[in-house]
C-alpha cells in the first residue's frame, strides 16, 4: 500500500533504494566502520551527488552497491534495492551478470582502470560480449558507434589504440563508452573528473549530462568538489565519517543547509559573490574511523556541539523545507516537522 501511495505521489518509484547500509573493513588495527547507517533513494533519470571529504565513506558506498569492495571489506547490514529487488542478497554469479549491465561504474583514474596491454577497442568489445549475445564483428561495430557517442573523433583509429596513446580526457571517454555499452539504468561515477583539467572536466561533465538525457539514465556522482556537485546533482547526500549528515535537493542543501558540517563546508570555500571575504574553515583534523565518537561523527570539530552530541547519534529529521538532516541542533531549536514516512 505504501509503495502504491509513493508511486502516486512521485509518479515514479525510485530505481535504487539504499536502506541502512553498513560497510566495514577488517584491518590489523580493528574493525573500521566506513559506512554507518546510510539511506538514500535514487529516482530514474536524475542525478544524485554524494559529497564528503576523504574518509567520509562516499566511495565505499559506491563500491558497496557494486559489490567491488577490497577483500577485507564487507556489507554488514542494510538493503540495496534495485527496482524493489535486494541486490545485496544476490549470489556472486547473479552479481557478475548484473554489474556493468544494469549498473555501471567509472573511476577517478582512467589509466589504472583500463588494461594497458589491450587496445581500447578490445576492452569495449569484451564489455559488450560479456552481457550481450552478439558476434565479434557486430560487437566491434557497436563499440565504434559507442566511441562516437562519447565524442571521440576518428573512432576507427582510436579503436585500435592502447590506453597510453590517449589523453586523460579521452581515456575517461573510453571508460564512459565501456560503462554504457549495455545501456545501464544507473551510472555510478566515482570522482570522474578529479584527475582532469578544468576545461576537460567541463567536456566530460557535459558529455555525462548529454548521455543521461539520451538514455534516461540515473547517475550517482561521488565527489569532494562542491562546484561539480552544484552543476550536476538534482539531489545531494552529504556524508561525514561514514554517516549521513543531510540529504535533499541541491537547492535545499546549498541554500538552506541544516547540519553544522554542511554549513561549515559551504563557508570554507571562496564566496563567488565576494571573493575577498575571509574563509571560515572547519577547525580540527579529519576524523579517525578507527575511533569513532559515540554520538555525532562531526561533534569533535563542531563549534556548536552540545552534551548530547557527544553521547547520542542524532536522528534523521525532516526539515520545514522537506529535506532530511541529522543534527541535534534542529531538535534543540524545534526546527523540524513530524513526518510519518521518515519515522517509518
Amino acid at each position: 500500500m505504501a509503495v502504491l501511495e509513493q508511486i502516486l505521489k512521485n509518479g515514479e518509484q525510485p530505481i535504487l533504494k539504499v536502506v541502512d547500509l553498513h560497510t566495514s573493513f577488517t584491518t590489523d588495527n580493528g574493525e573500521v566502520q566506513a559506512v554507518n547507517g546510510l539511506s538514500f533513494n535514487l529516482n530514474p533519470g536524475t542525478t544524485l551527488g554524494i559529497v564528503g571529504e576523504s574518509g567520509s565513506g562516499k566511495s565505499v558506498t559506491a563500491y558497496s552497491i557494486m559489490r567491488i569492495l577490497e577483500s577485507n571489506g564487507h556489507v554488514t547490514q542494510g538493503k540495496i534495492l534495485f527496482n524493489g529487488e535486494d541486490i545485496s542478497k544476490y549470489s556472486e554469479k547473479q552479481m557478475a551478470d548484473f554489474r556493468g549491465n544494469k549498473i555501471s561504474i567509472i573511476f577517478q583514474d582512467p589509466m589504472t582502470s583500463l588494461n594497458p596491454v589491450y587496445t581500447v577497442g578490445n576492452q569495449i568489445v569484451e564489455a559488450i560480449t560479456l552481457h550481450q549475445q552478439v558476434g565479434r564483428e557486430e560487437a566491434k561495430a557497436e563499440a565504434i558507434e559507442m566511441l562516437k557517442q562519447v565524442g571521440i573523433n576518428d573512432a576507427e583509429r582510436r579503436f585500435r589504440q592502447y590506453p597510453h596513446e590517449l589523453s586523460g580526457g579521452m581515456r575517461q571517454r573510453v571508460m564512459i563508452a565501456m560503462a554504457l555499452v549495455s545501456k545501464p539504468s544507473i551510472l555510478i561515477a566515482d570522482e570522474p573528473t578529479t584527475a582532469l583539467d578544468v576545461t576537460i572536466q567541463a567536456q566530460i561533465l557535459e558529455l555525462m549530462q548529454e548521455l543521461q538525457k539520451k538514455y534516461h539514465m540515473a547517475i550517482i556522482i561521488v565527489t569532494h568538489d562542491l562546484g561539480v556537485i552544484a552543476q550536476m546533482a538534482d539531489e545531494i547526500v552529504v556524508m561525514y565519517g561514514g554517516r549521513i549528515c543531510e540529504r535533499g535537493t541541491a537547492e535545499d542543501i546549498f541554500y538552506n543547509p541544516c547540519h553544522e558540517y554542511t554549513k561549515g563546508l559551504l563557508k570554507s570555500i571562496p564566496n563567488v559573490d565576494n571573493m575577498k571575504e575571509k574563509l571560515i574553515p572547519i577547525e580540527g583534523s579529519p576524523i579517525n574511523l578507527l575511533n569513532l565518537p559515540k554520538g555525532c561523527a562531526f561533534c569533535a570539530r563542531c563549534s556548536k556541539a552540545m552534551k548530547i552530541c557527544l553521547e547520542q547519534v542524532p536522528p534523521e529529521l525532516r526539515m520545514p523545507d522537506g529535506h532530511l538532516a541529522s543534527c541535534w541542533i534542529n531538535v534543540r531549536d524545534n526546527n523540524y516537522i513530524v513526518d510519518e514516512e521518515a519515522a517509518a
Partner: protein, 324 residues
C-alpha cells in the same frame, strides 16, 4: 593599486625560458619548451596567482625561478639584483618553496623538529641548541602546530598538519618570497580553508610575497592580488584578480573561467559554458604561432604565422592575442 615603478618590485622575471631536451631517437633530441619567454614581477607582500592546466609550465616557472632548474634563457632579479647560478646561494634564504604533496616532500625519518630546524642548520641561524629549539617552537606556534609534537615523525600527522610543517620549514629562514606550488591542492576542502587562511595571516604578519601556483581558479582568485594565466609554456594574460575574472580578454582565459564549476546550483545550471574542443597539443609538437589557435574560435591566419606578444590593455591588464 597604483602604477608601480620598477624599483619597487621584489622579484622580477624577464623573458624566462626553460627548455628540456627530449630524446626522440638515436643521437637526436628536440627541445621541449616548458617555459617560453615568460615575464612578470611581484611586489613585496603581494600574491601573484599562476594558473593553467597540467603541462602548461606553471610549476616549471616556480622551480626555474628558484634556480632549481638552470634557466635556458632570461633574467631573474631579486630586490633589483640579478640572480645567477653563481650567486643563488645568497638568495636561498630569501626565496623559499612549499610543495604540493606533504606526503613526499617531508623526510619520514626525521622528527618535525629536525625538518623545521634543517634550514636553520644550513644557514647557521642559531648559536646554541637551546636557541634552535626555541626557534622551532616559535615556528610551530606560528603555523598553528602543537609544540608538544616537535619530537614526532611526519607519519603521525594528517595532510593539513603536514602542509603546516612544510610551511614552517619554508618560514624558518625568514624569507621575503615563497613559491607555493599547488600548496593546498591535496587537502580536503575544510582543511584547505585553514591553510589558505594561514597563508593570508602570515602575509599580513610577515609581509611575505607569494607566487601562488594552483589549478583551482576559485582558490587562486580568493588569495591573489593579481593572476597570470599560462597556456603551453607561454603567458597569455595577466591582470588584477578581480579584473581578470570580471573582464577576461584572452579566449583561453574566457573558456577556462567558464569551465570552472561554480558551487551554487542555480548559477551553475544556468551558466553558459564555452566548451573547448579537443585536448592541449603536445608540447613537443607545438602549433606554429599562437599555441592556442588550434582550439580557439577566434583564430585567423595571422595566429598561425606569428606568436602574439603580451600587450598592456590598460591598468596593467596584459593580454597576448591578435584578435581580441
Amino acid at each position: 593599486m597604483s602604477e608601480a615603478n620598477k624599483s619597487e618590485y621584489l622579484v622580477e622575471v624577464k623573458n624566462l625560458k626553460q627548455y628540456f631536451p627530449v630524446r626522440t631517437g638515436f643521437m637526436k633530441t628536440v627541445p621541449l619548451k616548458a617555459v617560453d619567454d615568460v615575464s612578470f614581477a611581484i611586489r613585496p607582500g603581494e600574491t601573484l596567482g599562476l594558473v593553467g592546466e597540467s603541462g602548461c609550465g606553471k610549476t616549471t616557472v616556480g622551480r626555474t625561478l628558484l634556480h632549481l632548474y638552470k634557466p635556458t634563457g632570461g633574467e631573474i632579479y631579486f630586490e633589483g639584483k640579478q640572480v645567477t647560478e653563481k650567486n643563488i646561494g645568497e638568495f636561498r634564504k630569501d626565496m623559499q618553496m612549499v610543495f604540493q604533496d606533504p606526503y613526499s616532500s617531508l623526510d619520514p625519518r626525521m622528527t618535525v623538529e629536525d625538518i623545521i630546524g634543517e634550514p636553520l642548520d644550513v644557514h647557521k641561524l642559531y648559536s646554541t641548541k637551546e636557541e634552535r629549539h626555541q626557534k622551532v617552537i616559535e615556528l610551530m606556534n606560528l603555523v598553528g602546530l602543537n609544540a608538544e609534537h616537535a619530537t614526532r615523525y611526519v607519519h603521525e600527522f594528517s595532510g593539513g598538519q603536514r602542509q603546516r610543517i612544510g610551511i614552517a620549514r619554508a618560514l624558518a629562514v625568514n624569507p621575503k618570497f615563497i613559491v607555493c606550488d599547488e600548496a593546498v591542492s591535496a587537502l580536503d576542502v575544510s582543511i584547505q580553508a585553514q591553510v589558505i587562511n594561514m597563508f593570508e595571516e602570515l602575509q599580513e604578519k610577515l609581509g611575505v610575497a607569494y607566487l601562488f601556483i594552483a589549478h583551482d581558479l576559485l582558490v587562486v582568485h580568493h588569495i591573489s592580488d593579481r593572476i597570470a594565466v599560462m597556456y603551453l609554456g607561454r603567458m597569455v594574460e595577466m591582470a588584477d584578480a578581480d579584473e581578470l575574472n570580471e573582464n577576461p580578454i584572452h579566449p583561453y582565459t574566457l573558456s577556462l573561467l567558464s569551465a570552472v564549476p561554480v558551487p551554487d546550483p542555480k548559477t551553475a545550471k544556468a551558466s553558459q559554458r564555452i566548451i573547448l574542443e579537443g585536448d592541449v597539443p603536445s608540447p613537443l609538437n607545438m602549433p606554429s604561432g599562437c599555441a592556442f589557435r588550434t582550439r580557439c574560435r577566434y583564430a585567423t591566419e595571422q595566429c598561425a604565422k606569428e606568436c602574439p606578444a603580451l600587450t598592456d590593455r590598460g591598468n596593467g591588464h596584459m593580454v597576448a592575442c591578435w584578435n581580441r
